[in-house]
């Protein structure tokens, strides 16, 4: 593959300077070695250092560079440039307040995550080494613990757009089920009580935007279904 020119259309908004957001058209020469969208954005930043975005690990582990790419949420570092239609339209994650350009304020997202108590609650005396699980019990956590909290799922969810202060959102609910499913956790009842609310859990109508958006291939809708199932088993 030779060097090629790629067209971009980027959401720009600097609240100190701009009265309202605007879209910047910009083209960029990419080298043969530039494969991922993040490579291109780093080069864009070299061309126009006013562009603001978050990035860190550049390999799909930290979740910093989540953004809306051609209308779909994803991680820039995991997205192949070649898979994208041009001009590549980059916007911040939808539904969260924009701090500047592609950077959003994640406060609401993390407030919901913290609200489900994302840590193991166990009232037994501390063991000498570690709390053991059987391999079968440990398998229950697969597909749950891998979440990197990039917010691609929650910001793709209309229920989270309308009620970000009340609906926990797919990322928070996936994390909630991660601890509900953990055999070492002893706060199952409290956790279910905490979610038994028409907003916190039941705003989810299983439209599966979260599954479509998750760059790690996780399934929050399935986890939410399992929470509802646990709640039903407790009630009937």
């Amino acid at each position: 593959m030779e060097s090629r020119t790629v067209q971009f259309r980027i959401y720009r908004y600097d609240p100190d300077k701009d009265a309202k957001p605007w879209m910047q058209d910009i083209s960029l020469e990419l080298e043969e070695t530039d494969h991922k969208l993040l490579d291109a954005i780093v080069k864009l930043k070299a061309k126009d250092d006013g562009i603001a975005f978050r990035r860190s690990c550049r390999e799909g582990v930290c979740g910093s560079d989540a953004m809306n790419i051609n209308g779909k949420n994803g991680l820039a570092c995991l997205t192949d440039i070649e898979s994208l239609k041009q001009p590549i339209v980059l916007r911040p994650l939808p539904g969260l307040p924009v701090i500047r350009d592609l950077i959003v304020d994640m406060t609401q997202f993390f407030a919901q995550y913290h609200s489900i108590k994302p840590y193991l609650v166990n009232y037994d005396p501390l063991p000498e080494r570690e709390r053991l699980q059987s391999p079968e019990d440990r398998d229950e956590l697969d597909g749950l613990y891998e979440c990197i909290l990039c917010a691609c799922c929650s910001t793709a969810c209309p229920s989270f757009w309308w009620n970000p202060d009340k609906f926990v959102g797919p990322a928070g609910l996936l994390a909630a089920y991660r601890f509900l499913a953990d055999t070492r956790d002893q706060a199952t009842s409290e956790r279910l009580d905490n979610l038994d609310d028409p907003y916190r859990l039941f705003r989810c109508h299983s439209i599966m935007n979260c599954v479509d958006a998750c760059p790690k291939g996780l399934n929050p809708t399935k986890a939410i279904g399992k929470i509802k199932d646990m709640m039903m088993r407790r009630a009937v």
């Binding site: 009340k166 028409p198 039941f202 509802k228 009630a235």
Partner: protein, 113 residues
């Protein structure tokens, strides 16, 4: 202002929305089978079908299920899009009253058969 959540309901509505959906699906099949066998051919056959005890029972159950199902669905729409509490409460009340009225009206029609 503090955000208040923790109403401790939601599960019941979620379960009933599914149960009512099943009842409505079963009723739809019953009526579809009836139509297949020509209950709509004459006014007498149409009347006889809906005056038949089990169908009458099922029709009333269907109407109740439809109202309950619609209540949860419409309430969800108000909860999503209408933020001021008093406006929402008014819309909730009006929806509930309208659905109760429809259920009563349906009962009255079935009673006459």
């Amino acid at each position: 202002m503090r955000t208040t959540t923790g109403a401790h309901y939601g599960l019941r509505d979620w379960i009933f929305q599914r149960i009512t959906a099943v009842v409505m699906a079963v009723y739809t099949i019953v009526v579809a089978v009836g139509l297949f066998f020509g209950i709509h051919d004459t006014s007498e056959r149409w009347h006889a079908f809906f005056a038949f005890g089990p169908v009458k029972f099922l029709t009333f159950l269907f109407a109740l299920c439809l109202c309950y199902h619609a209540w949860i669905g419409i309430r969800d729409i108000w909860m999503d899009y209408v933020k001021p509490v008093w406006v929402r409460l008014t819309l909730h009340s009006l929806t509930l009253l309208a659905l109760l009225g429809y259920a009563g009206w349906c009962l009255e029609i079935l009673w006459r058969l």
